[in-house]
C-alpha cells in the first residue's frame, strides 16, 4: 500500500503536510544548497512589511529549558525587494511559497497583499497578526477579535489567494479568534505563534533580550499548542488548521494532525537539524503504514475521546 501525504489546506494543495515556519527559514533560499525546497510542503517566508526593517539590536535570542526566546523584531527586506530578489529563485527551486505579511495598519496589510496578487509564484498569504515583538502591528491586531476581523476582511477584499491568518496563543480563548478569522473570510488558520515571555540575567538584573520580552518557542510550548489546535478544531471543524509549536519529530507532527491540524509548520527544529525534512516524511509514512491509514487527510482530527485516555 502506498500512502498519500498530500493535503488540501483551504484550497492550497501541498505534496506533504510539512511547512517551514515563517521566521525560522529566512527567505527559503538560504537553505537551497542543502535542502531540495520542492520536497517541502511549502515554505513560509520571513514576515514582510511594506518597507525594509532593521529589527531589534542584539541580543535577539536566548535559550530556555527545552525552548528559546526570540525578539528579532521582523528584520526584513520589504515586500517589493522580496518579489524582485527572492521570489524568482524560489520559483526556480519549485518551492510552494506562503508569503507571511505584517502591517502597522490594516491598510498596510492590504497594500502588501495587492502587490503579492500581481506577483508570480505566491501560493498563499499568511497574515502575521501574532508577532509579539513589535510595537505596532502583529499581535496588536491578533489579540483583539475586532482587529482580527478587520485585517482579515481588508486583505480578503484585495486577493483571491488562499488567506491564512497566523494566530497568537497570547489570548484567553484562541478558538474564538479562529472563528472570527473564518467569518472574515480566512481559508485556513495557522497556530500557534510564540508565547510572550522573558528571561532575566540575575547577576546584572538586566533582561537577557534587548527588547526585554520575546516569544517562546520549541518543545516547551508543544502541549499548550496541541491543546489550542484541539480547541480550534472543536470550535470550527470546517476550518483547516495548520498546527505548530515545538514540533521536532514526525511523532510530534502526528500528534498535531490527530488533534485536528491538516498540515504543520516546523520552526525551531529546523535550527537544530536543517536536514529534518526527509526524516519527517519517512516517519509519517511509516506511521500511516503501521496504522493502516491510507492518507494524511484520513488521519486529521481522529482524536478518540470516547475510550478514555492512555497514559
Amino acid at each position: 500500500m502506498s500512502v498519500d501525504l498530500s493535503v488540501d489546506v483551504g484550497g492550497l494543495q501541498l505534496a506533504t503536510p510539512f511547512i517551514a515556519a515563517s521566521g525560522c527559514f529566512g527567505y527559503g533560499l538560504e537553505y537551497g544548497d542543502i535542502v531540495d525546497l520542492s520536497t517541502l510542503g511549502a515554505v513560509a517566508v520571513k514576515g514582510l512589511f511594506l518597507e525594509e526593517r532593521e529589527g531589534h539590536p542584539p541580543t535577539r535570542i536566548v535559550e530556555t529549558p527545552s525552548g528559546m526566546l526570540n525578539a528579532i523584531g521582523l528584520q526584513g527586506i520589504g515586500v517589493r525587494r522580496f518579489v524582485a530578489d527572492k521570489l524568482p529563485g524560489l520559483r526556480d527551486c519549485g518551492a510552494v511559497v506562503l508569503v507571511n505579511i505584517c502591517g502597522s495598519t490594516t491598510e498596510e496589510y492590504a497594500e502588501i497583499a495587492r502587490i503579492l496578487a500581481d506577483a508570480d509564484g505566491v501560493a498563499a498569504i499568511e497574515l502575521n497578526i501574532s508577532c509579539p515583538n513589535i510595537s505596532k502591528g502583529g499581535m496588536m491586531f491578533g489579540s483583539s477579535l475586532r482587529g482580527t476581523h478587520d485585517v482579515v476582511s481588508a486583505v480578503r477584499r484585495v486577493t483571491t489567494l488562499p488567506l491564512i491568518p497566523k494566530l497568537t496563543p497570547n489570548v484567553t480563548d484562541v478558538a474564538s479568534f479562529a472563528v472570527a478569522a473564518r467569518d472574515a473570510g480566512a481559508d485556513a488558520v495557522s497556530l500557534v505563534n510564540t508565547f510572550l515571555a522573558m528571561a532575566i540575567d540575575i547577576e546584572t538584573r538586566r533582561p537577557k533580550l534587548s527588547n526585554v520580552v520575546g516569544g517562546l518557542s520549541g518543545p516547551a510550548i508543544r502541549p499548550i499548542a496541541v491543546r489550542m489546535v484541539h480547541e480550534c478544531r472543536q470550535a470550527a471543524a470546517d476550518l483547516p488548521i495548520i498546527g505548530m509549536g515545538g514540533i521536532m519529530t514526525s511523532e510530534d507532527a502526528i500528534e498535531f494532525i490527530i488533534a485536528g491540524a491538516v498540515a504543520v509548520q516546523i520552526g525551531t527544529a529546523n535550527f537544530v537539524d536543517p536536514f529534518v525534512w526527509s526524516k519527517l516524511r519517512e516517519g509519517l509514512t511509516d506511521y500511516l503504514h503501521r496504522h493502516d491509514v491510507p492518507s494524511v487527510s484520513a488521519l486529521v482530527g481522529t482524536l478518540d475521546t470516547t475510550r478514555g485516555h492512555t497514559a
Binding site: K46, P57, R60
Partner: protein, 273 residues
C-alpha cells in the same frame, strides 16, 4: 556544502580546569573547512539544551598521506554546551554541522600575517596558521591570556613556524597586560610600508582595540565575531552584527556575512558586550 556529521570523539585533552581540546573523527568536515569557518555543535540528542552552539574549527587533522581525518575544537567551559564538551570521553558522539561562514582571506608573500588572539579566540587561528605556512607567509601570533598557564598550544603554533608574542594579565609570561602591548610594540618597529595582514579573535573589547590600533597605523583588521547564534545557516536572524555600508548601518547575519568581518566596518558601540 555543509554536512551534518555524527562525529566520534577520538580524544579529549583537558588543558586546564576550564580549557580542553577535543579531536573528532570527521573527515568530511576537515576536507572542506577553510580558515575562520565554524561548525554548529550539539552534544546531546534530547531537547535540553535545544540549540547547537558555534565553534571555530581549530585544527584540521591529517594522516601521513595528507588526507583529512577530522577536526579539533578548542573549548572553554562557560555554559551548558561548553561544559558538556569539556566532559566528553573518547567514543562519545558529537553532532557537527558545517563548515559554515565566510572564511579569513589568506595573506600571500611578501605580505606578513599578524594573528591577534585573546583567550579562547586562539581557536580561530591554527587552521589559518597552517594555510599561511603552506604559502610561506611570515606569520606572528600575538596571544594574551590571564596567566602563563592559560596560554595553550604554543607548540602547535611553533611547529607551524609562527613567531610568538605573548602577554598575560598578571605578567607571569610575556608582556604584562593585554595583547595590545606587544602588538603596539610591533607596530612601532614595523615600517608603515611593510605589507601586513591583521587578524583578530577574542573578547569584543579586545577586537575593537586591535581594530582601532591597526586603523591608527593605516591598517585593516579581519575580526572573527562570535554572536549568539540560533541556526548558523541564515534562517533565524539572531546573530546579527551592525555593519556600516555605503547606504548606512545595517544588521547583517554573522553566520552568512561573517563570522569574519572587516573590523573597520563594524559599528562596535552598537555591538553589545
Amino acid at each position: 556544502m555543509p554536512v551534518d556529521v555524527d562525529a566520534v570523539v577520538l580524544s579529549n585533552t583537558q588543558l586546564s580546569h576550564d580549557y580542553n581540546t577535543v579531536i573528532l573523527a570527521a573527515p568530511r568536515l576537515g576536507d572542506q573547512a577553510l580558515p575562520g569557518q565554524f561548525v554548529m555543535v550539539k552534544t546531546t540528542y534530547g531537547d535540553d539544551p535545544l540549540l547547537r552552539r558555534p565553534f571555530s574549527v581549530f585544527e584540521i587533522l591529517r594522516d601521513d598521506a595528507g588526507r583529512s581525518t577530522g577536526v579539533s575544537l578548542l573549548n572553554k567551559r562557560i555554559g551548558v554546551t561548553t561544559r558538556a564538551l569539556y566532559a566528553l570521553r573518547p567514543g562519545d558522539h558529537v553532532r557537527c554541522l558545517g563548515p559554515l561562514g565566510r572564511p579569513f582571506s589568506v595573506a600571500e608573500p611578501p605580505e606578513q600575517a599578524w594573528m591577534v588572539a585573546g583567550g579562547v579566540g586562539l581557536a580561530a587561528f591554527a587552521t589559518l596558521a597552517a594555510n599561511l605556512r603552506a604559502r610561506r607567509v611570515d606569520t606572528t601570533l600575538f596571544y594574551g591570556g590571564r596567566r602563563a598557564d592559560d596560554l595553550f598550544h604554543l607548540d602547535t603554533f611553533e611547529s607551524l613556524d609562527v613567531h610568538l608574542r605573548l602577554a598575560t594579565d598578571d605578567g607571569s609570561r610575556g608582556d604584562h597586560g593585554n595583547v595590545t602591548v606587544p602588538l603596539r610594540r610591533a607596530f612601532v618597529s614595523t615600517d608603515r610600508t611593510t605589507p601586513v595582514r591583521l587578524y583578530a579573535c577574542g573578547p569584543t573589547p579586545m577586537m575593537r582595540a586591535v581594530t582601532e590600533l591597526a586603523a591608527s597605523e593605516g591598517r585593516a583588521t579581519e575580526v572573527s565575531l562570535e554572536q549568539v547564534m540560533g541556526c548558523g545557516l541564515g534562517g533565524c536572524y539572531s546573530c546579527v552584527v551592525p555593519v556600516r555600508g555605503p547606504d548606512g548601518t545595517h544588521f547583517v547575519r554573522s553566520c552568512l556575512d561573517g563570522p569574519i568581518f572587516d573590523g573597520g566596518s563594524v559599528v562596535w558601540e552598537q555591538l553589545g558586550e
